[in-house]
Symmetry: C2
Subunit: 364 residues, 2 copies
Amino acid sequence: MSAYKILLLPGDGIGPEISAEAEKVIDFLGRAGVASFEIERGLVGGAAYDVHGVAISEGDMALAQAADAVLLAAVGGPKWDGVPYDVRPEAGLLRLRKDLGLFANLRPAICYPALADASSLKRELVDGLDIMIVRELTGGVYFGEPKEITDLGDGQKRAVDTQVYETYEIERIGRVAFELARKRRNKVTSSEKANVMKSGYLWREVVTALHKREYADVQLEHMLADALAMQLVRWPKQFDVVVTDNLFGDMLSDEAAMLTGSLGMLPSASLGAADANGKRKAMYEPCHGSAPDIAGKGVANPIAMIGSLGMAMRYSFDNPKAADAIDAAISGVLGKGLRTADIKGDAPASISTREMGDAIVAEL
Amino acid sequence: MSAYKILLLPGDGIGPEISAEAEKVIDFLGRAGVASFEIERGLVGGAAYDVHGVAISEGDMALAQAADAVLLAAVGGPKWDGVPYDVRPEAGLLRLRKDLGLFANLRPAICYPALADASSLKRELVDGLDIMIVRELTGGVYFGEPKEITDLGDGQKRAVDTQVYETYEIERIGRVAFELARKRRNKVTSSEKANVMKSGYLWREVVTALHKREYADVQLEHMLADALAMQLVRWPKQFDVVVTDNLFGDMLSDEAAMLTGSLGMLPSASLGAADANGKRKAMYEPCHGSAPDIAGKGVANPIAMIGSLGMAMRYSFDNPKAADAIDAAISGVLGKGLRTADIKGDAPASISTREMGDAIVAEL
Ligand SMILES: CC(C)[C@H](C(=O)O)[C@@H](O)C(=O)O
Ligand SMILES: CC(C)[C@H](C(=O)O)[C@@H](O)C(=O)O
């Protein structure tokens, strides 16, 4: 059995704490003979800036390119608010996405039954919720050129960002969405602003043609992004798979995650194209951020990070059984009433980051 | 007393039905001697396309330019799904906004106490909610150039949209937000994606400088648009005035409107710059769309349309008393349990569009 190479990038804020718990689970899976893992460590975000003066070093980029999967916790924090734009913490994350070609970002919005009451929404609207947001991650306004600020004199500046999408980019992300839908409830909602954006117009055209040509068995609907932002609040269970562009996906996936009341719990996967051997570059991260306000206190919730490892087992290590076991262990500890502070709700007491990690390992 | 000129553009779908009810209220205000109004009528959207082959005619644009206020109901519907991009119904709306220079779109998200239970959110989170979203309406990705689709051959196309913001555009919308905040709870939340967009970076810089220079007495916070999409769901009452760009404002205002459970109830105002006499060009519309599925059935809710007239009384006709009276009349009929179908909830029966219009006039 050859070893899977994992690059662990703890990043900033609560990143190191929750990464340590994910490592415990990796160690456990290794000892249990599920697979053999080789862990390397790198720096990203503010942590990389402090050491290397950039948001990710060339050395760590090379490790990321060579890894079977990258596990990233979170980047950013007020400490780096004043650093130059090109080396701000987010730049490390964006470079990883772009250089590894991770065009498909899968963001499940799942409501854990044990936490349904933590949602702002009425319980019946979110209990059992299970949406998969498929966000395009290497195109759109995040990377299009020109992207610049020009000084016009007289105190005036002009800022420009460019949203670009080509047919092949829309097709490949559409394909990911349709394939996922076939394994789920067989419905795809494609979202854009075709009524005001040319990229939205092309998006709709390409998704429609792809559907007709290859996925006519899947139910497809188109919904404008503003309408989707509304419908997520009104009746989230109407959705199965949602496919959308980089910027809309950023907002809609955060909104969807918050609906579940389980934000600290949600993992994500960012996948590249399959090579000749069916292997994909991949990065896994929690949906939540670096939470600088609680960093170092040992109270952060490691579940999204551990769940991200679960997604790695499924999508990178070809081990859906281990992925299911991790998901079951998470549900198990929640079912026992174990809660970190962020999901404490009416529970009598909360446990620490470490205690939660240990409890999940014990459950496994 | 000189007459105020109102251009009424009923548009498509339920537009004509709800416009008729707003007209009743205008007639009533005229008869009651509140002010004297001269109503002209025009076509916009699909209705204009069917007659003129464009989404708004030059004649109606001239009427809009000459009016003291435009009252627009809604545009669009499946009937026009196949029309060329440049003459689609939305193009009429966009041209009105752009040519009249209506850069400031005010979208209140208010939760009517009588309807708090209609929200998907738990009552305590939305009861008494009162947010004002200030959306920039004539810039950004809606109007930036290039905006085009290029055929690359081999079945590939490239679509480009351009987001452009200049300092003065951000300053003038920021000013609207700060001024409004001073009359409300004195807090502005400015939202963009400064971490990935240059226009967001400039936005934050300009709003920060404006605040420091002229509005240091107002509380200002910056929140990334994805975080705001989350926080709106988590704890909407933390917001007072939110100021954001055209595209983010489109999504965030719809999300906020849906939170209230009162979507069919929410008006909006789009305002231009004040001229030497302090007069502004202005257009007023409901936040909701043309609802083609219920068009012509006489069941649509005219409250948002009548509320839009209320906003016209406040912002164009310098008559806050009449505006307050309209708001009070709306609250009054709701307090009496009168409901159109969309807000019926557990009410024993619902009333028609006309009955609701008549009830509001009676209440006035
Ligand atoms: C940190 C930031 C650059 C990033 C994004 O905007 O994509 C984050 O919000 C996310 O959703 O992963
Ligand atoms: C109809 C459409 C062009 C419009 C927009 O995107 O601005 C609408 O969604 C709105 O919010 O007024």
